[in-house]
Symmetry: C2
Subunit: 326 residues, 2 copies
């Protein structure tokens, strides 16, 4: 049976009032005693009624942990997510992490809100957070990310396949010196796309001609590609790990007086709105954002407790969009 405050009080050898005060935010109580009571209550599985209602309220909020809202791909996701959750009456809490910050920095803040689910599109999950979420029965879904070291459901585009498609497109255009503009090495979006790209190239008897480090940002990619094409070895094509980097690459190529799509073919990944803009006309792999968000929401809200090993990983295919840049 559900333990009551009285039982906790008895077990701790204090009065009922003391237990009540231990859970009140401004209860006047000896700190040591308070800590002891809280620990005991936790061990006995007692939850204060205030906490219970709090959890009931929070039950319909979903927390999104994202970084890098300046990459237009994430606003697309956020927009879609907000609409879909709104439609089913859920609330959306947003955490934007400054670049390079791990989730751990805000783990406590996030958990304090007791959301019913968490979507992580950026930052590395730590096993500490995973454990805490499991303990509180908070579902976590990785989106646009995979983490091999932790068993968590994840929804992602077929990054490996997309990498292959991109390489295949460039090969089909007869390109011989295909370079690669890298994102951040510790992300699955980077590693998978890179792997697919590399594999396809290898199968065609080629290998990446050059590599530049674009750090998933326009500026870094612009700089890196500028330096690359100012060097001795000239690539005749570039696969950029995402679209903003591809746009930076295109501008760098143009700035040097070369023509994207002719002198240097360029392929991106994501299909952000700007990829279709007249100045770029970027060929890219479109991520099916709506489908991905829907899958994520399903995983999160599914009433049935899907066993983690089964509902593990959903990979949705991307789609090659051919415009002028390759």
């Amino acid at each position: 049976m559900k333990p009551t405050a009285k039982q906790v009080a008895h077990a701790a050898g204090v009065s009922l009032s003391a237990v009540s005060r231990a859970f009140a935010p401004d209860g006047s109580l000896d700190p040591d005693k308070k800590k002891r009571i809280l620990a005991l209550a936790h061990a006995m599985g007692y939850v204060s009624p205030a906490r219970r209602t709090a959890e009931a309220i929070a039950r319909n909020t979903i927390t999104l942990v994202t970084g890098d809202l300046l990459n237009p791909f994430y606003p697309m996701v956020l927009d879609m997510l907000a609409r879909q959750l709104q439609a089913v009456g859920r609330q959306l809490l947003v955490y934007a992490l400054p670049g390079g910050v791990g989730v751990d920095a805000v783990t406590d803040q996030i958990l304090a809100a007791r959301p019913s689910g968490i979507i992580v599109t950026s930052a590395q999950l730590t096993s500490r957070m995973t454990r805490a979420c499991h303990q509180h029965r908070i579902r976590v879904v990785l989106m646009n990310r995979i983490q091999r070291d932790i068993r968590i459901p994840a929804v992602t585009c077929d990054n490996y396949g997309g990498g292959r498609d991109a390489a295949a497109l460039l090969l089909s255009r007869g390109r011989q010196r295909i370079g690669f503009v890298a994102g951040l090495a510790d992300t699955s979006t980077h590693t998978e796309r890179a792997r697919g790209f590399r594999d396809m190239l290898n199968e065609a008897g080629q290998s990446p001609y050059l590599q530049a480090d674009g750090a998933f940002s326009y500026q870094a990619a612009h700089t890196a590609v500028s330096e690359m094409i100012a060097g001795q070895r000239q690539p005749d094509a570039l696969f950029c790990c995402n679209d903003i980097m591809a746009l930076g690459a295109i501008d760098a190529v143009k700035a040097r007086g070369m023509r994207p799509g002719e002198d240097i073919a360029i392929v991106g990944f994501d299909d952000i709105p700007m990829a279709a803009w007249g100045a770029y006309r970027l060929s890219t792999i479109r991520q099916p954002v709506e489908t991905m968000v829907r899958e994520t929401v399903n995983l999160l809200l599914d009433e049935a407790d899907t066993p983690p090993e089964e509902g593990g990983l959903r990979i949705v295919p991307g789609k090659l969009i051919i415009r002028a840049s390759a």
Copy 2:
């Protein structure tokens, strides 16, 4: 003195249990009676304890109502806001409204969460919502928006001054046939910028040469400007009501084989990241996002209850950024 459930029960002529059940989410109670009790309780100023704790929990969340996350200006705001709120331990709830939808559609959902404050960057506020918020002591701040019909604190860039600056820049470049690319007529960002632009032109003895309807979107602006410059009357400059429209205009101009900044000078408004990109080099009025967000947060969190008439309106100046397009 604070009314108790017993008093409400007595006043309503029902038992204490009935009152308790009226507030429970799944209380079995005659709907009519429930409504009567709730109305009476409200009139007497009674709040159920569950509701009280709920309010205490929600006290540290701020709701952002935004539209159009596909205009990169809003992700900038969102990003900044998320960081600033995170830093002070507040939560950020996000509502993204589909274009054209009024707040009323989600008013109930928003109010149900009982945030301590609401920031509205899009959509028209209705007096109904304003009244409801006032009643629940939820602060509302308009950001990047002004509404003359409702007395609410607002933070906005000096849109009028920015419009003047844009016009002044184009005039100083010796332009004679200055066109205007409009946003949406029912927004203060549009009307204020347009007014400033017009006033400045008039003072120089000119008036807008042509007008196109860009609806604050890249696509619409691209189409509208394409049509405009395909017509008989050729503008030699364009002031676009925001940056994405300006980028659409630039691409339209280029597509017709003309050179932005030379054949047609173009000025935007916002200074979104893409404005600095190599393909555009857009001259624009920069909105000081960080300052605006800080002001907004201050208004929202300020402990002292600033009288609404005094703390009314904060207008922060924009800054003219000159690049290649004008």
